[in-house]
Symmetry: C2
Subunit: 196 residues, 2 copies
Amino acid sequence: MAKIQVFGHKSPDTDTIASAMAAADLLAQQGLDTEAVAQGKPNQETQYALDHFGLQTLPIIDKATTEEVVLVDHNEAAQSVDNLAEVTVYGIYDHHKFNFQNATPLYITAKPWGSVSTILYYEYLKAGLTIPAKIAGMLVSGLISDTLLLKSPTTTDVDRAALPELAKMAGIDDVDAYGLAMLKAGTDLSSKSDED
Amino acid sequence: MAKIQVFGHKSPDTDTIASAMAAADLLAQQGLDTEAVAQGKPNQETQYALDHFGLQTLPIIDKATTEEVVLVDHNEAAQSVDNLAEVTVYGIYDHHKFNFQNATPLYITAKPWGSVSTILYYEYLKAGLTIPAKIAGMLVSGLISDTLLLKSPTTTDVDRAALPELAKMAGIDDVDAYGLAMLKAGTDLSSKSDED
Ligand SMILES: [Mn+2]
Ligand SMILES: [Mn+2]
Ligand SMILES: [Mn+2]
Ligand SMILES: [Mn+2]
């Protein structure tokens, strides 16, 4: 089976990194050969989350090097790898407006929810699969980042329900304290991307 | 709560009619106020299925008359209602290549499977909801129509697994006999659309 690269948008934010990791793991648990990668270095907020859960940064790509790819947290070509038109999009997990065209039927799971991290939490659940604790930690982080600790107007009831469940799986006792520390880490060096 | 019209592509085929009915029912069971409609009269094959299960034809529209809509079995504006750009797409269920853009986050469930009828069968299942027998009958019909009784190259293992389950729910004893009779009804007057 050929490998499938899984990646989020350019100028990666925490939701993009978390959902690339989670989608690659979810699809691997379902039998695909996946590799989570990123279109750039983690920002300070994401680096805080990676350090907290003892995770390495993702390999950085500027072009996809597999024939099939999975897009997370974006669907527009402008936010994707430069050679998107030359590869086949196997699937998309996203929560943005759409501007996507391709030549072949594909998997798309899109929901108007606060984060792709939230969407992936429910995808694991519906598939009856276990979320590894470190990946749950990254999904907590992606959810908190995109919804500003459930305070953003994009926050939905689904996000509010997912956060405590994910925090439990990640072994986070005080999710507010963790979230504030993570968001603060992202503002320290004003290196936070202005994309969600 | 405002009503949401649910419809498939122009020149409706059996999968389009079946999935409009099923998506409208599934979303209604989840609390939305939906109305299944169609962009044209049923073809002879679809009419055979409707008659077999004692169902009325869907109301025919040429423009959406609700502010929000759900698209089934298509996603391209050219195959949709003329005023698509003036309404909000709440969600899409589809199995075709994509060419879609919009201005707001939305629900999309797309899979590269043989029919949208198959996709909706699994959506009911994952949601833990019951498929009414007549709607199961239409989903059997949509699946058989798009896959030519599981013989088309677009047929997947998922379609093969769904067909006997749906037939059971629909109370169809001999699904091959039903399928052949339905497909034959569609060829009698060469009125079958050449879209899948
Ligand atoms: Mn996001
Ligand atoms: Mn993002
Ligand atoms: Mn179809
Ligand atoms: Mn069709």
